[in-house]
Amino acid sequence: MNYSLTKTDIEKETQKGVLVTAWKRLVPLMTEEKRPVIISIIAILASSAVALAVPIIVARIVDVYIVGKNFHGVLMFSGLLAGIFIVGLFSNYIQIRTMGGVGRRLLFNLRSKIFVKLQELPVAFFNQNKAGDLISRINNDTDKLNQFFSQALMQFMSNIFLIIGTAIFIVFINFWLGIIALIPAVVALITTQLLNAWVKKTSLKSLQTLGAMSAEIQESINNFKVIVAFNRLDYFRNKFKEANQTNYSASVSAGIASNVFNPIYVLASTLAQLVVLAYGIYLISLGHFTVGLLIGFLLYVNNFYSPLRQLASVWSSLQLALAGLDRISEVLALESNVKILPKENETAETFSDHPTAILEFKNVSFGYVDGTDVLKNINFTLDKGKTYALVGPTGGGKTTTASLMARLYDPSKGVVYLEGKDIRFYEPNERVKKIGFILQEPFLFNGTVRENILYGNGDYDHFTNDELAKMLEKANLTKLLERFSDGLDTKIVSSGDAISLGQKQLIAFIRATLRSPDILILDEATANIDTVTEQLLGEIIDGLPAKTTKVIIAHRLNTIANADEIYFVNAGKITLAGSMQHAVQMLLHGKRKS
């Protein structure tokens, strides 16, 4: 399956009305937020009503009481105004508070959703995508949505209310004057529609370059010591500069595009005031209109256009949010291709002919993305309690074979049987209990030795250190723990050098054996451990329950000296080597074919 996120179809939905698209895509995000959204809508309505009422009242005060020189009336209506302002104060507060909360929770939920999705996706996904870009999607793209929801959306909604309300009012006050006042807005709206595609495209591009830059940073910082030791700081600084420059150019283009709306609406607003003034004075001269009404009308025109202007500046953040949502949806839409098959689908095919075997490969082929097959039509059977060794030149397919055993990948052809049943039918926790896999490159989390040993192992979580020590003693692991100065409480900084690769491998070893799996796979798991300690590990492995099947991949021959059977893995083929001597001979004299 192709998991690459780099190719995106920018053009796909720019043709549809933006508002319709936005509505369709953004509303589902808010389904759990009905109550706060309704509350904010009520608050927005109240604030909008306040904003609408004020000019009417002011116009009335001017026309009736000030022109009529009635100060008492002025006082009365001022009291009304004061009351309305207090309503405005509270409705404003409620609106900002609740809508801001909606944005924050949405950010929280989206972030969690993507992260959970990433956890569901198989190893193959991560082979095709960059860590930095994924981090950028989780942190930056979601934040664009948050910004839209907490700042822009409420402006958007309240402004739309204001705009529609005011539009109705002005048309109602004087039909033709109202229509004339609205014409510039219509022209501006049409222009907006025409420019949308451009803005969306540049916004998406700028988010993409941000992701690329983040990937660049992630890679350089995590490999910093290599860059230092090889004195290639300049080279990477330049590469970063390039990514930075690309992001800069893309962002400038996006900025120029998204900033085009504001001036257009400013222009529309100014022109509207001009036509209203000119036509209004003409109407007054005809005696169809009053000065007070014109002043009020101009206020309304202002009330119509300034939210429209704000809408224009919010418009670009809507575009950015939609672009961010696109990038998020790309990840969310992916499905793992390493799926658990449902029980109902079990057939005779599901079960192997060797029910007693712990593991069986039947006609298995496998290739990474669009490359050639790494494994070609592999068949072998592993029996319970035996020790197997996989040897062969580098790049021959040993790690791939082991990864298929643990179902990190599914074969492209053929079936892997675990205890006689197609491995794809096992629930993950069931499968994981049976298989222990010590990876070639051990990974430790920041924390303590204890946390790392117990990682992913719920059985011993509640144990005190003393109880755990007893468990370790029972499993013969105590001697290994002695290699850590503070025992279980030794601090671990996973990227640091205070802990050696050999020590990391020891922890990975303890972690896997403590789980007492049915199959223990060691993929060059002791490669960086000294031979004396390795002998100790050998004793520990020999001490595992008799039913434990061991699969050992190693270059050091003493590691595999006790194997019951040795498989020679080369150029995608697996052959039984027979005796140890035969295996060594193949290894020393066999030509590598790639």
């Binding site: 002011v58 801001g100 940073i217 995590n222 000119a278 994981v432 004396v532």
Partner: protein, 582 residues
Amino acid sequence: MKDNNRQHSAPSLFGLLRNYTGLIILLAVLTVIANGLSISVPKIISGAIDNYAKGNFVILNLIIEFSIIAVLIFVFTYLQNIVQVYASEKVARDLRNEISAKISVQPYAYIEKATPAKLLTNLTSDVDAVKTFVSMAVSSIISSVFIIIGVAVLLLITNWKLAIAVLVIMPFIGGAFFFILKKVRKLFIKSQEAIDWLNKVISESILGLALIRLLNSQNHEDKKFLSANTEAKKVSLEILGLFSSLIPVITFFTNIAMLTIVLLGGSFVISGSMTLGSFTAFSSYLAILIFPIIILGFVSNLIAQAEASYGRILNVLSAPVEKQSGSLKANLKGDVEVKNVSVCFADKWALKDVSFAVKAGSKTAIIGPTAAGKTQLLYLLTGLLEPTEGEILFDNVNVNDYNKESLHGQVGFVFQDSAMFNLTLRENIAFSNTVKDADIEKAIDTAELKDFVEALPEKLDTIISERGTSLSGGQKQRIMLARALALNPKILLLDDFTSRVDANTEKNILLNIEKNYPHLTLISVTQKISSIEHYNQIILLMEGELLAKGTHKQLMKTSPEYVQIFDSQRSTNELELSAEKL
């Protein structure tokens, strides 16, 4: 870089803008023109109404005047927006370059201490906050302040008594800003720390992805992410709590001003001390005044956020650079001496008083159990690590006296853990475009990579995936060897190089090195005695101490620990010998 002389003493955002004075002035001028034109509109309207009342109103003049202003407003507003985008992106770009330049002169230990997750936040989210400040806050502040002052002046000209009554609200608004901003700064710092935390969890979950899937511990990771995410949400809700009251309160104050106009202005008009046109102008100006004040309220959020982020960036920029590299550029002969060197990590000794010398062109092996300090010893030789005590000498000169670039160019290091870049294979080996093709060729041949390269679809121009996920452990290790050899080094440091390469390949590679790089000084950390028996010197390390040194023969006689290691490998040796005979 021109930025070297920048003063970092005052962590002020506005200090940052000093380097962009030209742009900021241009932005200010454009903003002022655009806004000046905007606020002239009500003046024209009230003039037209008054003219009409007086009976000398000419419609054509109004239309011409108004149209010109409308077009000018359009042009200047767009220009202002463009300059603002340009300025903010430029500031962000330069800041990023400056941070990356600073990071790149820092020692490796600094990166470890600062943590990659935080540096990533610094370069992305923190810079973004500063960028938003420049793009939205700067011109908003300029235009707001300009409009507020301009409107205030116009109000005063129109009717000073009423103006003063209206402007009394200003100190209240200022007070509200000050109060909120003071409280919110800490929260913004907390919020960026929450982002660091998120970055760390995500990054760990990606680097440890295979393990997580093997142990089916996705739930556990989800929980870790959830706590970081919850913290981020909590802080941002606290921030929201503070800011959600700011804008309504400010709006309320300006509404009070409206009330003042109606009451006081109304009574002035009634008493005849003010014209109706002036009254209208007053209410229009107030409508204009509300907008910039609300904008300031909104912008104060951005300022607080940017200040917190800029403070974090300055922490990176102002971190002292530990030591300047020396100036000596010499061609190394290859003598190495380690003199009474000790290394201490958090009061634990990784190496204790280690001394030995290596002659140019000789071969030295370092052997010892896990966590003996072998890797640290190699790190010392490359300058990745500074000794706590003692010194390292190359050709009898202290390592610190050498120009780092010149030294790194002559010392090749093959790391134990693989580090692959999402670049072409050629770039992964050469790391730059300056290495000669012939050198790459030789390095590839020596590392036995020729067959591998030939089999690749694009040969040397094949792009390696991030973290080298498509390569086997042995392939990565050999690529790293080729990377070190492509330097044509005088000294080659191998850290457990043979661990992931099969015996046959290993043997060929070592022969190739002897053949192709005959005068190389080799220092090799290894586990395997059989391949180092003929070395000039073997150093046995255990728990940070040098236990024994000498040739294989000497150590077999004098060091029981060495003999123990040898015995642990004997069965293998016999196997290999017998297989060779077959």
